[in-house]
């Protein structure tokens, strides 16, 4: 449950259109039809005792504490499950009700440990509070009878405990697991007095629990409680902020004691997560104060020398002098920088400004290069804006949902739960993925179609879907002709109608049966509302941008744009990928996705920044690395990214970084890239600074500082100081000043300010005079580009081919408990769930190679090899293997290639031809020794 008394009306609000007036304890109150008596009472200022009711869950009516009397009705109905009716007269306080409630409380307390003073929930326990509310003064039954007071406590989960002795069997935890998270890991085992919360296994850690924390949040006692609360006690104040993990951007209450975080609790009023969380945001924040944090700037002459701790001033002066020296020797274009999608909008803005205005070139890029740059390109070309079309809540109106190359229950878990809830309500699901993700089949969820395509054939599948839609007359011609460029639409219709794009013709390419393609296309095209969600399985291909455009084509052709329940929805990887792109992190675009060659756009920035800007596009990150190897690129400033682990073809990346004369890394930890660095600026975590993040639904939210920066400077202050050392002054007293500058220069942000963010909570851009409170859904009346553009999306096979020598296709992904390169999550207890990356291989392929589950295997590609333990599973199809890249030791990117998307150079992480063999005895011994050494 929430600490510090967050109001809870007991049941969810009703969206009923009509108002119903009722009388509660003599007070008249009008509430929407469908509202519970309990909620109506709360809104009338009347508090009804409750234990099993909470507004995060559906009403249950089991605790019998919220009984009321209603004129004209027999008995004492539960106010949580009784809905208001016109003219209803309710009494919440009568002598009989008081007697009944005290009787109920006596029964609860007769089987509850009376250790309130030493209980971790002391001061924040609903049972304790209700005992006071009902005036409990005695327990007539005594404590000597049968009870659960010696029931064994389950401490197996690293983050919370389950103490059955304190359980009142209200089922809030079980219901939270079902209704909110959708995992169904908990149940009430037994009947009557024997009832107990159970996981179905011996303990939490061995169960299907995903540690989202919903059960802990729902618990009204100390039965389920965070270990940090047990250790540190209750918090004394709260600061609202945003999670720094994935692109869902969940709002959190940082519950604090002084400057120490006691726990993070999801904020129920946050529109991105509506009170839900995942194991990362809820629990895995301990990295922020991990002993590995670097708190002092470091410099060294050579990457083979030891680091020298220095003052900020010395580090800044050294870094600036190196940049100046290199530019004097090799030219202005010999330096560049990388912004971070883990940093705030304001910090990203400053880094690109430093590079454009301070370095004097456009050699700025961001980690979106290696994840969603094709989204930016493809959606800009087709729809006119480099962003998703919807808000997250839109999924509640979707009838058919296509998930392509995304695994939201692992990568975007809070949205994944929202999606699963809609599926349980009856929406139909189509999954397009080489791997059988949890969405394909899990409790109460089953995809109608799983198009299990061969890696690298997305575009062929999309074209085949389009072929069916057009040739079977399922397209929304009226929408397409009214809203889109008609000539392009006609060209596209002709193109996709060609026989070579039919499901029957593409079956041999994609491996997807034609009948499944036809069925899926009909299902999507005939839906009242069809929505497409996609992830890196779309973008990280040599045809990533083509596939993004193919998705936009499908949505436009079926009229699935511009209203709730539809749209094109990229699930962004890192928390601020959308924001970092918006803020001008691409080398060819100034902030707001405006090309650097536009003199009017440049002029606005030049006036504000008092510099003359380079009108030519700069180098992208892969181009910078190539230029480093040819000797024309010599220095790089990398804020909050780790290309030496996260980027493909690591031998190439390492060689390029080694060839540079000055690598400046700014990060929380000495990451893999820092091994190649000459200057290290200690970074600050999201808890140590103010700013904003923009999530996957274009939602700008406030990040709030809850503790001082461990190294003395927030990241934005580091960039300001670096710019000053270079001779370029930046004058900001607070990140809000930076946002004011952003609002003055970006047409989509003109209405954004910290004051408005405080008032509204969050804002979805565009936010300007036309949309002063933001834009939840885009392209409603017209596309941002005017008319939607259908692009011709010819399928082109990747150059990365499987052969006799490399017969398997390796694809990569993420797991729930780890995040990206793992720099944060590996420094938390989350590694208990995923201590190493493993290789998923189909039983058929494993058997052919003599590989058994758990064996150490060697994975070799044309680029390199690595060793992983085998997970023999039918999740992957024959011919496909799969791994993650959360641990540097596993070296997944030692085998990935430098093939990339044609439009953006986004790497083709998702397709690498490999061979897999059983590791030899010497290799096993070597790996075992390395693991022991670690």
């Amino acid at each position: 449950m929430y600490s510090l008394k967050v109001p809870d009306a007991g049941t969810k609000p009703s969206a009923g259109p009509a108002l119903v007036t009722v009388e509660i304890d003599g007070t008249l109150i009008a509430v929407p039809e469908g509202t519970s008596v309990m909620r109506a009472a709360t809104e009338a200022g009347v508090r009804i005792p409750k234990l099993c009711a909470t507004e995060m869950l559906e009403a249950f009516g089991s605790c019998r504490l919220c009984l009321v009397e209603i004129d004209g009705r027999k008995g004492y109905p539960a106010s949580c499950t009784t809905l208001v009716a016109p003219g209803m007269k309710v009494k919440t306080q009568t002598p009989k009700l008081a007697e009944l409630r005290r009787g109920v409380m006596e029964l609860y307390i007769s089987d509850h440990p009376l250790d309130c003073l030493t209980c971790s929930a002391n001061g924040n326990c609903e049972l304790q509070e209700m005992a006071g509310v009902v005036g409990l003064r005695q327990v007539r039954y005594g404590y000597e009878g049968l009870n659960h007071l010696k029931a064994k406590k389950d401490s197996s989960n690293p983050y919370f405990t389950l103490d059955p002795a304190k359980c009142i069997v209200c089922s809030r935890c079980v219901r939270a697991c079902e209704e909110v998270q959708g995992t169904f890991a908990l149940t009430i085992d037994g009947r009557g007095f024997a009832s107990l919360v159970a996981t179905g296994t011996n303990d939490f850690m061995s169960s299907e629990c995903v540690s989202c924390g919903a059960c802990v949040q729902a618990c009204p006692t100390a039965t389920l409680v965070e270990k940090t609360i047990e250790d540190k006690g209750q918090p004394d104040h709260v600061v609202n902020t945003i999670c720094a993990y994935c692109g869902v951007g969940c709002g959190f209450r940082a519950e604090m004691k002084g400057s120490e975080v006691v726990r993070m609790v999801p904020e129920k009023d946050s529109k991105s997560n509506e009170g839900h969380s995942c194991v990362k945001g809820r629990f895995a924040w301990g990295y922020a104060t991990h002993p590995d944090r670097v708190k002092t700037p470091l410099i060294r002459k050579s990457i083979h020398d030891p680091w020298q701790p220095v003052s900020w001033e010395v580090a800044m002066a050294h870094a600036a002098s190196e940049v100046k020296r290199i530019q004097a020797a090799y030219g202005r274009g010999a330096v560049g920088g990388i912004t971070s999608s883990r940093c705030t909008n304001e910090e990203t803005w400053l880094v690109q400004k430093l590079i454009r205005a301070g370095f004097g070139n456009n050699n700025v890029d961001t980690c979106a290069r290696v994840c969603h740059s094709p989204t930016g390109y493809g959606l800009k070309v087709t729809l006119g804006e480099s962003a998703g079309t919807q808000d997250f809540i839109s999924v509640e109106d979707a009838d058919v949902i296509i998930v392509i190359g995304a695994n939201p229950t692992e990568g975007h878990p809070v949205f994944g739960s929202r999606l699963k809830k809609r599926l349980r309500e009856g929406a139909q699901l189509i999954v397009v993925d080489p791997r059988a993700t949890d969405l394909v089949r899990s409790p109460h969820i089953e995809a109608k179609y799983h198009l299990q395509l061969r890696p690298g054939t997305n575009v062929a599948v999309a074209n085949a879907l389009a072929h069916v839609i057009v040739t079977e007359g399922l397209a929304d011609d009226a929408f397409a002709r009214a809203r889109c460029e008609v000539g392009d639409y006609e060209n596209w219709r002709t193109f996709v109608s060609e026989a070579r794009n039919s499901p029957e013709a593409t079956e041999s390419i994609t491996g997807v049966p034609a009948a499944a393609i036809r069925g899926a296309a009909r299902l999507y095209a005939t839906a009242k509302n069809g929505a497409i969600y996609y992830g890196l399985g779309v973008t990280e291909h040599s045809q990533g941008s083509t596939m993004v455009m193919a998705i936009a084509n499908l949505a436009m052709a079926t009229g699935n744009v511009g209203r709730p329940g539809v749209g094109v929805n990229p699930l962004r990887g890192q928390n601020n990928v959308q924001g970092s792109c918006d803020m001008g992190s691409f080398p060819h675009e100034l902030p707001g996705y405006r090309h650097v060659s536009d003199p009017a756009v440049r002029a606005a920035f030049e006036t504000n920044w008092a510099v003359n800007l380079d009108p030519e596009p700069g180098l992208r990150l892969p181009n910078m690395l190539d230029a480093a190897l040819d000797g024309s690129f010599k220095a790089i400033y990398i804020q909050g990214e780790d290309p030496a682990q996260s980027d493909p073809d690591l031998h190439h990346v390492h060689a390029a970084l080694s060839a540079m004369e000055c690598v400046i890394v700014q990060d929380l930890f000495l990451n893999e890239t820092a091994k190649f660095a000459h200057v290290f600026f200690p970074g600050s975590s999201f808890l140590e600074k103010d700013g904003t993040f923009t999530n996957a639904e274009r939602r700008i939210g406030r990040v709030r500082k809850v503790m001082p920066p461990l190294a003395g400077k927030a990241d934005w202050e580091v960039t300001v100081a670096f710019a000053k050392a270079l001779g370029y002054e930046m004058d900001y007293a607070h990140p809000s000043d930076i946002m004011d500058e952003i609002a003055g220069l970006m047409p989509t942000f003109t209405g954004v300010s910290y004051e408005k963010l405080e008032r509204l909570g969050s804002i979805q851009w565009p936010c300007n005079d036309a949309a002063p409170e933001g834009t939840p859904i885009m392209h409603i009346e017209r596309f941002v580009r005017g008319k939607g553009k259908f692009a011709l999306t010819e399928y082109v096979a990747t150059d990365e081919r499987s052969t006799d020598r490399f017969p398997l296709l390796l694809t990569t992904g993420r797991v729930l408990s780890q995040y990206n390169v793992g720099a944060q999550t590996r420094r938390t207890h989350n590694s208990q769930w995923h201590p190493e990356d493993v290789l998923e291989i189909h039983p058929h392929d494993a058997e052919q190679r003599g590989i058994k589950h758990g064996d150490l295997v060697v994975v070799a590609s044309r680029k390199g090899d690595t060793r992983l333990h085998a997970d023999v599973t039918e999740r992957v199809a024959p011919g496909v293997v799969y791994t993650t890249f959360h641990h540097p030791e596993s070296g997944a990117n030692l085998v990935t290639t430098d093939y990339s998307d044609w439009a953006t150079n986004c790497p083709e992480y998702k397709v690498t031809a490999v061979q897999v063999r059983l590791a030899r005895a010497a290799e096993r011994a070597e790996s075992a020794a390395a693991a022991a050494g670690k």
Binding site: E606, N612, P615, L619, L792, A903
Partner: protein, 82 residues
Amino acid sequence: MNTDKLVRMANQIGAFFATEPDHAVAVESVTSHIRRMWEPRMRAGLLAHVAETGGAGLSPLVLEAVTANRERLASLTPRNPT
């Protein structure tokens, strides 16, 4: 810059626009994409490759685009007056 990589990237761009039914639009699209997305030293590398080898390895569409628009690809956008 690595010439092989530049050739491969250019051919990928050509492969996307090759489906365009209007050939003139395809040529312009290839040219415009390279002009707007590639940093000058990358464009110079591609042009040098064409000058030295006649465009070895380039697809006909890309070679046509580069050859027909050599000056545009080589030119630099003028800075705004200070």
